[in-house]
């Protein structure tokens, strides 16, 4: 009685195709969302083993990290404004090792000028700060910003604080290192610091938490200085959290459990079939 009619075969083929389709339909969602994880609004700081290339913008480590690109605008927000800037977008990469973090900016600039510079900006504390130097907001009490300012002239990085226009000052405790390297019309500038520290004037970067980040670039050969620079408003920065080994354990357990259930069901069906 093993022979089946063509009707049954056709029916089984349809069932098979529908089941297959359904499996991909349901399974496709997580796979697709996996691929869409890295958008253009977040700098994901990748967790690496070993030292972070905190003062080496040319390190091979950077080749292993994807870049996120952010468009830049001339600073037309407050006086003195500027309407044409050289740098119109910046590529950003970041790594951390659980203790130290590093952020690399890569951007096109045809000239290597002593007036060239670049900066990162972060919010400090729980209060929201305006991206323009934490300027005063009318209806919202804002917080300060932490600015890391690299200057090509002396290859220094200044760890700074601001809360409103005209308040930008160098911090007494300098925690940021960095270096710029210019080659073939391209700057690569690296900034580095510990993820967290005890300086109340500094931004903190606990792993897995989203922090706001903004960028600024000055082209000295275009007379860009002070407020006259290329800027972005706030985007996001997030150090990748440590993988929890329990996640792999649970995932493996689920795979085994579902497989086991399948096995039991199939065996039971076959036994029933044999008995019949």
């Amino acid at each position: 009685m093993r022979m089946k009619s063509s009707n049954q075969r056709g029916r089984q083929t349809i069932v098979f195709l529908v089941t297959l389709g359904l499996s991909f339909f349901i399974g496709g969602y997580p796979v697709m969302s996996f691929a869409q994880e890295s958008g253009g609004v977040v700098v994901f700081s990748k967790l690496i083993k070993g030292d972070v290339p905190g003062t080496d913008p040319m390190s091979a480590v950077w080749d292993t990290v994807p870049a996120v690109e952010f468009p830049m605008s001339a600073q037309v927000h407050w006086d003195p404004r500027i309407f044409t800037v050289t740098v119109r977008s910046v590529q950003v990469k970041s790594v951390h090792n659980g203790k130290q973090m590093a952020v690399l900016l890569i951007y096109k600039d045809p000239t290597n000028n002593p007036g060239d510079g670049a900066a990162l900006e972060f919010m400090v504390g729980d209060k929201k700060a305006h991206f323009a130097h934490g300027q005063t907001m009318v209806q919202v009490e804002g917080g300060p910003v932490n600015i890391w300012y690299w200057k090509n002239a002396d290859q220094s990085v200044n760890d700074m604080t601001a809360k409103g226009f005209g308040t930008l000052t160098s911090q007494p405790q300098q925690d940021v290192k960095g270096k710029g390297s210019w080659e073939n019309g391209e700057w690569r500038v690296v900034f580095s610091r510990s993820l967290t520290n005890n300086d109340p004037q500094d931004a903190q970067f606990p792993v897995g938490v989203f922090q706001n980040i903004a960028f600024a670039v000055w082209d000295g050969s275009n007379n860009e200085k002070g407020a006259q620079k290329a800027v972005t408003s706030w985007w996001y920065f997030r150090p990748e959290p440590h993988a929890d080994p329990m996640i792999y354990l649970y995932t493996g357990a689920v795979v085994l459990l579902v497989g086991l259930v399948e096995l039991v069901v199939v065996r039971k069906l076959r036994r029933k079939d044999r008995a019949a």
Binding site: M3, Q12, F34, R270
Partner: protein, 249 residues
């Protein structure tokens, strides 16, 4: 006799019950997800799909023969059949292996902390402060004033909002939220003149907390442009975009 044969042929051509269930389920989902406008919230879709599943469960289990028709092919498929063609058997194994792995991927993603940025719940047109709510332009609507407004707009506003008033000026790209597109029916066409006067005068920093003022690149123009000139700019923005200010109906 003939009628009997026709009935059995019709029965043979019927779509198998599991396929019916899947087609209806996916059909309802696609309808709710893509056809209904404005889009339904996912919680509502989940509720409707639960009701659809319950309904299909009742349909399948209400008669013995539909239950058999539903379970039979699934049971056949799971049990396998050594006499079937090799591709069919291979595909059965593929499905049996795929299902636990899909469950694994799904579990992994549920347990991994989310890498999606915080949801941006910014209110685009929050309520203006009381003192700005009922202002009217004191500037006469004349060609000269519109021209003056155009000159001021080009000097101060066009770098971001664009000469075409479409929000795509030369500097628009670096800012999030992007500069407003005045040609769009969803911006100044929906707003009163007094609202624009408030937004231009106090800029991004004048927004209440739900407008997320810390992100806005809109300058606080009251520090630089006289009120009568702000009214002229507003006049040009409506004239240039072809919209009219909203009034109290």
């Amino acid at each position: 006799m003939e009628a009997k044969i026709e009935t059995s042929q019709a029965k043979r051509r019927r779509i198998p019950v599991p396929a019916q269930v899947v087609i209806v389920w996916i059909g309802v989902y696609l309808f709710l997800k893509f056809v209904i406008k404005p889009p339904l919230p996912s919680s509502l879709i989940l509720m409707y799909m639960t009701m659809t599943s319950v309904g299909l469960g009742i349909y399948v289990s209400i008669y013995e023969d539909t239950l058999q028709g539903f379970m039979g092919p699934i049971v056949d498929f799971l049990r396998g059949d050594p006499l079937r063609a090799r591709p069919w058997r291979a595909a059965r194994w593929a499905v049996l292996v795929l299902v636990p792995f899909m469950a694994g991927i799904s579990t992994y993603q549920k347990l991994t902390p989310s890498a999606a940025p915080p949801i941006d719940q910014r209110v685009i047109h929050p309520a203006p402060p009381r003192e700005f709510a009922q202002l009217y332009s004191p500037i006469p609507h004349t060609p000269e004033n519109i021209m003056a407004g155009k000159g001021l707009f080009i000097a101060y506003c066009s770098p971001c909002h664009g000469i075409k008033l479409d929000g795509k000026g030369p500097q628009y790209k670096g800012f999030d939220p992007p500069p407003a597109n005045f040609v769009d029916v969803g911006t100044i066409a929906q707003l009163q003149e007094s609202y624009l006067f408030w937004r231009i005068s106090t800029g991004g920093v004048g927004l209440p907390v739900e407008g997320q003022p810390w992100k806005s690149a809109m300058p606080r123009w009251e520090t630089r442009i006289a009120p009568e000139n702000i009214w002229k700019i507003i006049m040009f923005e409506y004239e240039g975009s072809g919209h009219v200010p909203r009034t109290w109906e």
